[in-house]
């Protein structure tokens, strides 16, 4: 037997053992060491190389390297195979029931009325309006007098008022913000465009359709060339943005002391989409806001010349919007803060 044959045998034996091994440690610790280690079989064979004819030595040396590389490659390859198998097994063992419920992430809900107000604000911000807020405890002067509602005006009956003193009251509307802004606004900065959301109060008994506290959003636009058709277009845009293009609006004459002309604005009934139902009293329309062209007296009292400047104002009720939009039957639901109720709206 030549050394070369020995090496070939070793190679075959190693490849066979490598082929049959099934765990990484036997492969690496036993097989690899027994063949390739410092005291391994190949090294052992090469010890006899010095007995060979020096002419043969290089060839055997070369051959031994081929064998060694071959075994090394086989070990490496097997290692890879075993690792892969191991990994496959591990992954198999790690299988989970993906249908078990996920871990809940605590999350609070926004208040539905706040969401509507934010939405309205965003729509008007996009049209270049600023958002302003005014005091909830208001002076009679701003709440009534400056809004062209002198004492004993019959329209005051429409707004039962919580008074604190004879001159101080809980604001019954967000309209006093019109007066407050108008008396300060610097028209050299361009047209006045603002909305003012907030809480208002009425001396009412709470029942499903009345609340002593509710929300309003006031809007006001004053410039040199504002038309009533601008009011119509603006409110149409608002309703389309809020609820979609399927909803139309219509204007009806009405009366507010601080606007002239004054209109009540109806929109297509949410419930029947205009076909007529008991919610809209079969008209297909529901009343959603009041608006009009700012009364010249309101401008005059704020020190603005109604011959030069004019514009429109509107006031809408987010509570009413929410009730109509979501079919909420009782306005008190918005202020009792039942978490089951609140969490329905995102």
């Amino acid at each position: 037997m030549s050394l070369k044959d020995d090496l070939a045998n070793i190679r075959d034996q190693a490849l066979s053992e490598i082929k049959n091994v099934s765990d990484v440690s036997t492969l690496n610790q036993k097989i690899r060491v027994s063949f390739l280690g410092k005291r391994g079989k190949i090294t052992k064979v090469l010890r006899d190389i010095k007995n060979l004819d020096p002419k043969e030595r290089p060839e055997v040396g070369k051959y031994s390297n081929i064998v060694r590389n071959k075994i090394q490659d086989a070990v490496a390859k097997k290692n890879q195979e075993l690792k892969q198998a191991l990994l496959n097994q591990k992954l198999k063992d790690e299988k989970i029931d993906v249908t078990l419920p996920g871990s809940p992430v605590p999350k609070g809900s926004p208040h539905v009325i706040q969401s509507i107000i934010d939405h309205i604000c965003d729509i008007f911000l996009g049209m270049g309006y600023q958002v302003l807020s005014g005091p909830e405890v208001e002076e009679e002067k701003y709440n009534f007098e400056r809004m062209n509602l002198p004492k004993y005006h019959p329209a005051r009956d429409m707004q039962a008022t919580f008074y604190i003193t004879n001159d101080i009251l809980m604001r019954t509307q967000t309209s006093p913000m019109q007066a407050r802004v108008l008396e300060k606004y610097d028209f050299s900065k361009g047209p006045l465009k603002m909305i003012s959301p907030g809480i208002v109060f009425r001396r009412d008994n709470d029942d499903p359709t009345h609340s002593h506290q509710f929300h309003q959003v006031e809007g006001l636009v004053i410039d040199k060339n504002i038309k009533m058709s601008d009011l119509k277009g603006t409110l149409e845009y608002l309703i389309h943005q809020l609820f979609g293009d399927k909803f139309d609006i219509r204007l009806r004459p009405s009366y507010f002391p601080f606007t002239e002309p004054s209109v009540e604005v109806d929109m297509t009934c949410f419930n029947c989409m205009g076909k007529g139902c008991n919610i809209c009293k079969n008209t297909g329309w529901i009343e959603v806001l009041g608006a009009g062209m700012v009364h010249p007296n309101v401008l005059k009292m704020a020190g603005i010349d109604p011959k030069e400047y004019g514009g429109f104002a509107f006031g809408l009720g987010p509570d009413r919007f929410a009730m109509l939009r979501y079919g909420v039957k009782d306005i008190r639901d918005f202020y009792l803060d039942d978490v089951r109720f609140l969490s329905q709206f995102d």
């Binding site: 809900s109 008007f124 405890v137 009956d157 919580f162 636009v221 119509k232 062209m293 009364h295 039942d338």
Partner: protein, 804 residues
């Protein structure tokens, strides 16, 4: 006001269906509450004649009637009305009929006797008892003899008339009358109204001024007129007039009283009537009432007057609350022979105040409060006389006694077509615009672009240009108005920093699991004064409706605790809410208007999470809420250190589990557990809460958002575990560590706290990870060792800790 369509048709050639008319009015003039007929929902009600009427054999009050309803056989009907009698023409509800309140009438037996229907009173066929004439209140209704047997009853009683219920806005007092509505409809439909005017035939032998004079305070009654009629006969008015009244929800009384109401409906001018012979000394005064003067209205209301009330009086007694209602003392009764009709205009402010003060709201006060046509007083007064004369052949005395008068003239308003089109966004031509004014019955003089519009006194709501814009817009039709958007210079709409921060606050707390609540700003005085973060006087309503809503809140938490209670009472134990709103502080008792301060508050009760298959929920605790608050405050990027200091200052908070929160030394709120006693009172489970002064948080300086450069060099971490007295706080230890840690100590993190088994009593074990970092160089172990030694030494010295 319920307007009769039949009545309108007397003056206007209208042919549209009533519901369309109602719709048109609503779109063009005023809101319409309903369009109804009295006969709506009724069925098989006919005129019948009682042929015979016998006593019921088994009853002392029932009668058995044989009734002719123009069918083959007489109907036998048992009737309990006291006024049923043979020969009467009555309302018969046939078998299978439907009467008022949706009641069906079937054949029945009453005490053993067959009854094939029912004889009805007016209230039984749907009339409200308040409009049924007294005569018919307690029995069946009896028709005048010309009613045809077998015919439906509706036409005879005006029940087939369409009634359009107008919800008249305060500015359109003119539409509280038939004539006003006729003028309006004439404009809307471009028709010519055919109005009649009274012709008064006076008796030349009699002079009104011989029988009565009047003296008025012109500030109270700027117009005041009287007419006298002699030899009137008090009797029921004819059915047609009664129908006009009850269809307008007014009860017919007698011809004289009915005429006053009829005139008011027709012209909008309230009329008062007095018995001339009950007026002392032939003189009427209109004056302020005397303080505490006691009177009784003709309706029987007893009223104690104030000296701001106004009355019509003779020299002994008030006879009317001016513009409101008649009083007992000079009222018309069955024996009245001679009467005074009074028509005037009373101060709307005085009438309104008086009506409110005494809660007496009448058709008269409703009209005076909204104004009446100053040019129509005479005509209304004459019309009243004319009708009374027609009804009873009474003598109308010569002359109208006029104590005060105003010569009401048309108002002229100048307006340009350019301005109309510019303000409304229309493009009307001059003929279009001027025609609208003409349709309204206004005079128009055109001069180039200019119109001089002359408005008759019956439209006293119109006196400025803007009022005319409205007339044009509504008659032209809002549907015909284009939709445009404001042109002109653009403006930029954006949220202010404050608004952004408020929105952000809401989002952070929502993301932390808290739901946005909105509770009431008005609460009880007791709740308003809870959880006071500062000294403040309370703000109270002058006239609260209930004590529950009497005081402005000075905290948000009490409202949130109400919310927790509301939820937990409904079986929802896990509640996590926040609120963002205003509280109302007064620094001084005399301060009338409180300062409105934005607060933000939150509560957690029950558990923040639910039990799941892989996670057990924990009851809420202080540190969960503190984590939420920390996270929130951290997000605000406040420029300053946040400190929690234990406090027992809040009587409503757990004295051992509450901390004031300071930012850079400013107290901005508190956090802690609701005091168990308070929790009991609110009937809630253990609850943790915080309330912060959001206004101050908003105003506090914020850190500039710059990215800290992350060191390229590795950091070194060391743990230190100590055994320390229980009452030494984490804050004390951390600040000692930080003080001694040197320049490279970057972070101190508490990773363990233990005081259970194997720990000596009164002690606790705390373990921290200290992280060291040099921004500019690789840190040497020796530096860290040195720092750790210093820290250990210091902790031993200061707190007598054992290093473990």
């Amino acid at each position: 006001m319920k307007v009769s369509y039949n009545w309108l048709k007397e003056y206007l050639n209208l042919n549209v269906p009533a519901d369309q008319l109602g719709e048109k009015i609503e779109r063009t003039a005023v809101e319409v509450d309903s369009v109804t007929k009295h006969q709506d929902g009724l069925k098989k009600l006919v005129v019948g004649k009682v042929v015979s009427c016998e006593k019921h054999p088994n009853s002392d009050h029932l009668h058995v009637c044989q009734v002719d309803v123009n069918q083959d056989d007489l109907l036998q009907i048992v009737c309990g009305a006291p006024n049923v009698a043979a020969g009467e023409k009555v309302i018969v509800a046939l078998p299978g009929s439907r009467i008022g309140n949706n009641v069906k009438i079937k054949r029945a037996k009453m005490r053993g006797v067959k009854s094939n229907g029912m004889l009805c009173g007016l209230d039984e066929v749907g009339f409200d008892r308040s409009v049924v004439p007294e005569k018919w209140l307690n029995g069946i209704y009896v028709f005048p003899d010309d009613a045809k047997v077998g015919k439906p009853i509706y036409h005879y009683l005006g029940m087939d008339d369409d009634l359009i219920d107008l919800d008249v806005t305060p500015n359109r007092g003119d539409m509280l009358s038939i004539y006003g509505t006729v003028h309006e409809l004439a404009a809307i439909y471009d028709l010519k109204p055919d109005l009649n005017h009274p012709k008064v035939e006076e008796n030349p032998k009699l002079n009104a001024s011989d029988d009565i004079s009047a003296d008025v305070d012109k500030k109270i009654a700027p117009i005041y007129k009287l007419r006298v009629l002699k030899n009137v006969k008090i009797q029921p008015s004819p059915l047609w007039m009664q129908i006009r009244l009850w269809n307008a929800d007014i009860r017919p009384v007698n011809n004289v009283v009915d005429i006053t109401n009829y005139i008011m409906l027709k012209y909008g001018q309230p009329i008062q009537v007095y018995d001339l012979d009950k007026i002392n000394n032939q003189k009427l005064l209109v004056r302020n009432a005397r303080l505490n003067e006691k009177v009784e209205t003709t309706d029987g209301d007893k009223v104690t007057l104030t000296d701001d009330d106004i009355v019509v009086a003779d020299d002994q007694k008030p006879v009317a609350l001016a513009g409101l209602t008649g009083l007992k003392g000079a009222e018309v009764d069955q024996n009245t022979k001679n009467i005074i009709f009074e028509a005037g205009v009373f101060s709307f402010v005085k009438v309104r105040k008086m009506a409110q003060r005494h809660s007496i709201h009448t058709g008269s006060s409703q009209r005076f409060e909204r104004g009446v046509n100053h040019a129509g007083v005479n005509e209304a007064l004459d019309a009243a006389c004319e009708i009374e004369h027609r009804f009873t052949d009474a003598d109308i005395e010569q002359g109208t006694v006029t104590a005060s008068d105003i010569d009401a003239k048309p108002v002229n308003v100048d307006i340009t077509l350019t301005r109309i089109n510019r303000v409304l966004g229309l493009s009307l031509t001059m003929p279009e615009a001027s025609n609208i004014f003409k349709r309204l019955g206004f005079g128009v003089e055109i001069n180039d672009d200019q119109m001089s519009v002359s408005i008759p006194p019956r439209r006293w709501d119109i006196h400025i240009e803007a009022d005319l814009f409205e007339e044009i817009a509504r008659i032209y039709g809002y549907d015909n108005m284009p939709s445009t958007l404001p042109s002109g210079p653009t403006t930029i709409g954006k949220l202010t920093n404050k608004q952004k921060l408020i929105r952000r606050s809401r989002r952070i707390l929502q993301d932390s699991g808290l739901t946005h609540a909105i509770s009431y700003s008005l609460t009880t005085a007791k709740k308003a004064n809870m959880f006071m973060m500062r000294k403040s006087y309370e703000t109270k309503l002058k006239m609260p409706m209930t004590i529950d809503r009497s005081t402005l809140r000075m905290n948000l938490l009490s409202g949130l605790l109400d919310d927790v209670a509301y939820n937990q009472a409904r079986g929802v134990d896990d509640v996590a809410l926040y609120e963002l709103g205003r509280v109302f502080y007064k620094d001084d008792e005399k301060q009338v208007r409180p300062n409105e301060v934005e607060h933000i508050a939150g509560v957690i009760s029950g558990s923040l999470s639910i039990d799941t298959w892989n996670h057990k929920s924990k009851p809420v605790d202080f540190y969960q809420l503190k984590g939420i608050v920390d996270n929130y405050l951290d997000d605000l990027n406040l420029n300053g250190d946040i400190d929690y200091e234990a406090t027992s200052d809040y009587p409503e908070m757990h004295p051992g589990r509450t901390a004031n929160i300071y930012i850079h030394g400013h107290k901005i709120g508190f956090i802690g557990q609701i005091h168990p006693v308070i929790a009991d009172k609110f009937n809630i489970k253990p609850t943790y809460a915080f309330e912060l002064d959001l206004k101050t948080l908003i105003e506090m300086p914020k850190r500039e958002q710059t990215a800290d450069s992350v060191s390229k060099y590795p950091s070194i971490s060391r743990d230190i575990a100590i055994l320390v007295d229980k009452n030494v706080t984490n804050k004390e230890i951390v600040s000692a560590i930080q003080k001694r840690g040197g320049a490279f100590l970057n972070q101190v993190h508490l990773f363990d706290l233990y005081d259970g088994a194997h720990i000596p009593s009164g002690k606790k074990s705390m373990a921290y990870t200290l992280t060291y970092q040099d921004q500019h160089d690789t840190l040497q172990n020796e530096v860290v060792d040195k720092s750790m030694k210093k820290i250990q030494r210091d902790l031993k010295q200061q707190f007598n800790v054992t290093i473990r």
